[in-house]
């Protein structure tokens, strides 16, 4: 449970289990790859979910966007923990695609998605270093600030 121990050292913990919002799964495994669905910055509290909403460049600044991306990654880690039992079964984070809800002139998508990338590297070290794209969207589901999908290589 090294990865979860590191999470604790960072003062973080896995969030409660999210509820799927439509006719799809949080992730699907094919061979040694997990394809993880787009997750949002949902926060489950007292049984109801609230989202970090708004557009970068208008409603949220880069630091708030960074925190939203970090929350998204915590939610992804929870989904992976449900599948894997133990996050240490992650062999390598392969690829991350980060969607940032923003105004047409907001140029700092990479700084926002760093909130997710930095957490992965802090938890998994070299195995957490990944390929990545960060792009700007005119809108995301429910007006969330960030959505991230991911491909991960896991143990047999």
């Amino acid at each position: 449970m090294e990865a979860e121990k590191k999470l604790e050292e960072l003062g973080l913990s896995l969030p409660p289990i999210p509820t799927p919002v439509a006719n799809y799964l949080p992730l699907v495994r094919t061979g040694n790859l997990l394809f993880v669905s787009g997750h949002g910055p949902g926060i489950l509290k007292d049984g109801s979910v609230s989202f970090i909403q708004g557009k970068l460049g208008k409603d949220l600044d880069v630091e708030q966007g960074y925190d939203a991306a970090k929350q998204v990654m915590l939610n992804i880690l929870q989904s992976m923990k449900q599948e894997l039992g133990d996050l240490d079964k992650v062999r390598k984070v392969v690829k991350l695609l980060g969607f940032v809800n923003c105004t047409p002139d907001f140029p700092d998508q990479p700084k926002v998605i760093n909130g997710a990338s930095d957490l992965l590297v802090a938890l998994f070290g070299e195995r957490g270093r990944h390929a990545r794209s960060a792009v700007g969207m005119n809108q995301l589901p429910f007006g969330i600030a960030v959505e991230i999908e991911m491909v991960v290589e896991v143990e047999d």
Copy 2:
């Protein structure tokens, strides 16, 4: 031909074979995975293609978007049938990325992309349940309403 029989029971049929619009392929296979190109809601009729065009939140309502996503999936299924011969060779739908052409305040991308997801589950049952992202775009090729790309695991 179970999947195609189900399609018929749903009152649907595979569309005519679409024509590629540029220097790329409808899908590429690597190992047991098909990577399917972004498909649109083209409708081939009397030898010419028309598209379901327009932006959600302005030109189309959610139900029309749902129908567009369903049409996209029919086109994808046709491309897969061309490759596989029989859609029953689908072992598992892995991942779907749904792009919704919309206004900057349209929040219901998931309800739109359900038009594709629901069809997959209706046809393939458990094997059709997939990971997914749904996101909002400021524009798509030719002004189409929905574009979807997909990863599918197929038999050897």
Copy 3:
């Protein structure tokens, strides 16, 4: 070095090695697949990087967008060369996702991304023919005109 020879015949050459802009890698290999990060149309000159910036439909025309997508692909090829040593180890280009920074009414994303697709087919022939999506974005990092990510199958 067939692919690089072809590149030379086309009057092109691999650009200098780009500098990563955040906490991620240019690409990650899993099994026989390379997942390539979103690359931009950066041009390294005299030790400093400039980018082809602007929105299609406003700041750049289709031809300029085509050239930007071609430059992106040259940068991706450079990253792949760093990893593989020899571009001839590419067995098959699998999938390309092209993000075009554009106005909400620009419909020619495919014509722009052809700048990358055409180069791949010119270099690799049949092995270069790929699955693809081309989509319109309201903004990209640093205001770049085009960003492309890719999946490639390589030799053992």
